[in-house]
Amino acid sequence: MKPAPFVLHKPGTIAEAVAHLAQIGDDCLVLAGGQSLVPMMALRVAYPSDLVDINGIEALRGISVEGDKLVIGATVRHARFYDPVEPGPLGKLLSGVVSHIAHHPIRERGTFCGSLAHADPASEWCLVAVTLGAKLKLVSQNGERLVAADDFIDGAMSTTREPDELLMEARLPLLGGSARAGFYEFNRRAGDFAIGMALAAYDEVDGVMRNVRIGLGGIEDRAARNAAAEAVLEGKAPAEALFADAGRAAAGSVDPMEDATTSADYRRDLSSVCVERALAAAASATK
């Protein structure tokens, strides 16, 4: 299990990186954390002719709050989120979610943006980005563009990134003071890919839920918000029975994947308990 040969480029700047991408084209891939790409190369399901290793680019390493956004650079590693990266509810949510991503040594290398670019349907960060409405900044020699996470991910392991573009940062909206967020993931062993997971976020205003966002991951071919579940909840007071209704609404509206070990039917069934438990976690989360 050795990767096929390739040429490694180690640019020091974003300009150099996108120049490589522009010049080489389709067979050139970006190497950030490499925790998904390298195994795919070892298994010879990925055969890039060239890798552009962006780990040496200083400008991509930062994480900061700009206005009401958390800006996450392309090589910010999962482990950066262990301790809350900002003092509000978002920092706390991300700190909880990161413990579900693979294992510690993977988190030391793997990156937030790399997860988005890889677009695994079971990626926790894809779920977070889609549910919370992240905007992604892509850069190429032709300039920069901002894309909503939901538009960026267009299927299992598939994105709308052009071959000459580099995902340079993710901009995640902060959660306000009245926000509550909860996450639940189901898998068979610690650190495994999610078979199903849900993220629930809402603002609690005068005892009712507003701006409800329910996202499901691992169930469908991409992380996606579930409008049916959100509709059940919007404007209502949080309650266990209502959460169960939302779960059922989600199960009734998802289009689940099927694979060798997990049926679509099981995923559909699972989506309901994921939503319910994510909501319960949100409701019990201390502000």
Partner: protein, 167 residues
């Protein structure tokens, strides 16, 4: 099969080698630097047998290319023993029968070194979660957990003793 010069620092020793870009850090350490204590168990980042420390962080050396580690400080199992004195973690693994075939052992040692050297008593669940990073087929983990726990205490005591001596 084009090879490229590569300078690595492993356990404080510089190595100048020539390798293909595609060669993983694990294979580079083993084949080009001759340090075979780091083992390869799956080559796809799941088993953790190849865990080494790069710039202070425990990582899977099968998921990095050797050329990505240029200029970084790499620590492997061979560096744990200092001046003929074993690391408390190595002693604890022997005392607690935390290894059988020993193939996964270097990976577990490098995985646990960080938490041991912080001397911090993790709650049981967190320690298990950390150690769930690596796979062992022989031991059922119980003795590995016990050994790491004991090493945390031993490291702290040793550090406290060291402070007293110098004070």
């Amino acid at each position: 099969m084009e090879r490229h010069p590569l300078n690595l620092t492993i356990n404080g020793t510089p190595y100048a080698v020539e390798t293909e870009f595609r060669k993983t850090l694990a294979d580079t350490i083993r084949e080009d630097c001759g340090l075979t204590g780091t083992h390869v168990g799956c080559e796809h980042g799941v088993c953790g047998a190849c865990t080494v420390i790069v710039d202070g962080k425990a990582v899977r050396s099968c998921l990095m290319f050797g050329h990505q580690a240029e200029g970084m400080e790499i620590e492997t199992v061979e560096g744990l023993e200092q001046d003929g004195v074993l690391h408390v973690l190595q002693e604890a693994f022997m005392d607690h029968h935390a290894l059988q075939c020993g193939y996964c052992t270097p990976g577990f040692l490098m995985l646990a070194k960080g938490v041991v050297e912080r001397g911090e008593d993790l709650p049981e669940e967190e320690l298990r979660h950390l150690l769930s990073s690596n796979l062992c087929r022989c031991t059922g983990y119980q003795n590995i957990i016990a050994a790491v726990r004991a090493a945390i205490v031993a490291f702290r005591e040793k550090a406290a003793g060291g402070v007293e001596q110098t004070a």
